[in-house]
Assembly symmetry: C2
Homo-oligomer: 433 residues x 2
């Protein structure tokens, strides 16, 4: 062992959660749990380590190869620290296919690791809410998923001015591209790839690529027009498309629920070409300085195909990272000033009273459900008050020898500085417990 | 990608938490959080990955070398998946030494990994409650820590028949060994090492080792007698020992609090020789078939010495694994029959009512704080009831075209099978929300 002092910094791209940080995270994940449990979603979790082949087979190439922490264990197994939750939940669903009662309404808040360059909103360790419905492949499940996302945002006090759910449908996308271009499935797929890259290349390069695939200016203009269309206008372009029907049903239900004010059809939402198969959506932060997708998701098929032969389970869901959500809540002033216990009482200590009396008093408060602690050392009163203020106690209890004999204590409210004499057997009442 | 199907088993020594498993874990960790927050402890957390040197320097040899999952990252850093929490919290405390308000009352419930042979109660991935007070080195902090452990056990309905907190003190241990043997510090240390190994060797080998260190039969008998002594008898053997004073103060306070019924002085509690420096304790399961230490802890010094020169912070605390606690709760029948939402309502669906009406009704229930969901597919009524029963819904709501027109629904209690007609605007009232 060397005498060199060790660094106190956390590992690159990870965070220490001191009590203030933890209270914030517990607060927002607590609200999310409450919202989802009220919508009858069930929480699950899985291991942090999985066999690497799970990701090599399932995830996008980049996640499996470049972004995964993986290593060989002492039994020569290649393992990975999970970079996402879907492969784990797919494995779990496949493992109990015959016992589970579909559709499943599941959520999880796992921590996960990705090996990436750290930047605002992107860390190597993060927590990610995953919400999914498995085993129902109609728009009703898509609606429940989108409603749950809106309920979560609203539970934090977010208004329609602060966020927008932008919705598209991958079946509609394919059908409308085919309708405009007149191409077959393979031809449409090539056009879709160009459209998917639209924001990553110049307008010139985009048009050139489309023209190389044989598109006319008129067809390119029709595709352009889709980005400005309402859901009614867009779906009218290929009214018989199953995807168009799903979009119409979804938006009609959102209107009935008065939730359409939070939603917008957006032909630009694609979310990669190889994974999603139906409804896709992204929740945007509307703040001008941070206007971008915070999280998103959609419908995908064949969840369990890698594990069970000839079995099909489809899913619809989304993933939301803790860093993104925290940025949103802070930016829009949605974090309450006081998190955690509002009433928290410190019993102060004087040398003329046996210590055990203070412990008893503290236990009396706790037994009444009041968050309470006591000053462990017999320091000067001023020091004890200073400790209470720094640790966000709301009240201190003062009990010297005289008070103890009279069976009462003084309670000092640290916000108002008011002192009140209270009988010991009326303490619970005083704090409204 | 091969066509071989992937295994659905989790990685060796880890567990999948399906909703029923997760409800159980959320229930017991939820109760622990509530108990500790009522005792004004603050939750913290840290990263899953740490630099390996943190463990090489701090933990016992076995944990650092044989039991740690470690590997080199792509930046040539040796990292480890945390096998325990103390090195992380030591780093965190050291990192903010001057900003933190001591004493700290901190707890955490991290997941961690140890590479070990799996057996009952020992898995490779586990969750461990860590509770500590940092920066107060007198018995008052030891008492708070032991009281918190008893409060946790009592919060689950555990009685004194089910568990015992066995307490010793390492300073007293050293002093009483010196008093009986008449040896100096180094001589006593060698005797202590033999006593520490007592349960791992035969009686003959134990006596032989002590005799080789020069102990007389009479001295060996005196040490034997300590295991049967009360705290008063034992501390009377070296009344001036600081450790003896700590033990007396601790037990006197436990008596005042009427918590001595859960506690017992036990000279056999040592907890390894190199780490603990004062009070040590272990909480035993009293069940005859499972009579053993479930968890324990104690006082240790110099938490931050590896990070900050010439700084001393002492701590006292304990760690409790989720598997051990779950075994205890199940063995003693302390897990309630219903975990999670007691009222959970499924809105059933008929083809003569527009789907959006069902979604609206479901949202009305949720907005009143009632856990509710709706059947996503228009299946036969019997199938919908079957789904509700399997998913532990307490009630189903029945609304056909006739009911909708009358502005009322039927509510079927799935336990009693009773049906009640309720006006839609009186639903919240009906469920007592």
């Amino acid at each position: 062992m060397s005498n060199q002092l060790l660094s106190t910094k956390p590992y690159k791209g990870t965070r220490d959660f001191y009590p203030d940080d933890m209270r914030l995270r517990n607060w927002f994940f607590g609200k999310i749990r409450e919202t989802l449990e009220t919508a009858a979603f069930d929480e699950y979790n899985g291991p942090m380590l999985e066999s690497l082949e799970l990701y090599a087979a399932k995830s996008g190439e980049e996640i499996a190869t470049k972004q995964t922490y993986n290593f060989m264990d002492r039994g020569d197994r290649m393992v990975a620290i999970r970079p996402e939750m879907t492969p784990t939940v797919a494995r779990m669903v496949a493992g109990k296919m015959n016992d589970l009662n579909f559709p499943l309404r599941w959520f999880s808040i796992p921590n996960m690791y990705r090996y990436e360059a750290t930047q605002r909103g992107r860390l190597r360790e993060f927590w990610q809410l995953n919400v999914d419905i498995f085993g129902c492949n109609t728009y009703e499940a898509d609606l429940e998923i989108i409603v749950s996302a809106i309920r979560i945002m609203k539970s934090f006090g977010a208004t329609k001015e602060m966020f927008t759910v932008r919705i598209n449908n991958r079946r509609f996308f394919n059908d409308v591209v085919a309708a405009i271009t007149g191409k077959d499935a393979e031809g449409s797929r090539l056009v879709s790839k160009v459209i998917d890259r639209k924001n990553k290349v110049s307008r010139e390069a985009y048009e050139k690529d489309l023209r190389e695939l044989g598109l006319l200016d008129e067809q390119i203009a029709k595709i352009d027009a889709l980005y400005e269309m309402s859901v009614e206008e867009a779906t009218a372009l290929c009214p018989d498309s199953i995807g168009a029907g799903e979009l119409r049903d979804l938006f009609a239900a959102l209107r009935e629920l008065n939730l359409d004010q939070y939603c917008k059809f957006d032909f630009g939402i694609i979310r990669g070409l190889d994974y999603y198969t139906g409804t896709v959506f992204e929740v945007f932060d509307n703040a001008p300085e941070n206007n971008r997708a915070m999280f998103g998701g959609g419908r995908y098929d064949n969840l369990v195909g890698l594990f069970v032969k000839n079995a099909k389970v489809s899913g619809v869901g989304y993933g939301m990272g803790d860093v993104t959500l925290e940025n949103f809540l802070v930016t829009h002033g949605l974090v309450p000033e006081v998190l955690g216990q509002k009433t928290k009482v410190l019993v102060t200590r004087f040398s003329d009273v046996p210590y055990a009396e203070y412990v008893k008093l503290t236990e009396t408060l706790r037994n009444a459900g009041i968050a309470a602690s006591l000053h462990l050392e017999a320091k000067k009163f001023g020091k004890q008050i200073e400790y209470a203020v720094k640790e966000n106690y709301s009240h201190v209890v003062i009990m010297g020898g005289t008070e103890l004999e009279a069976g009462e204590v003084k309670i000092k409210d640290l916000a108002t500085r008011e002192e009140t004499a209270v009988k010991i057997n009326e303490l619970a009442e005083f704090f409204g417990a």
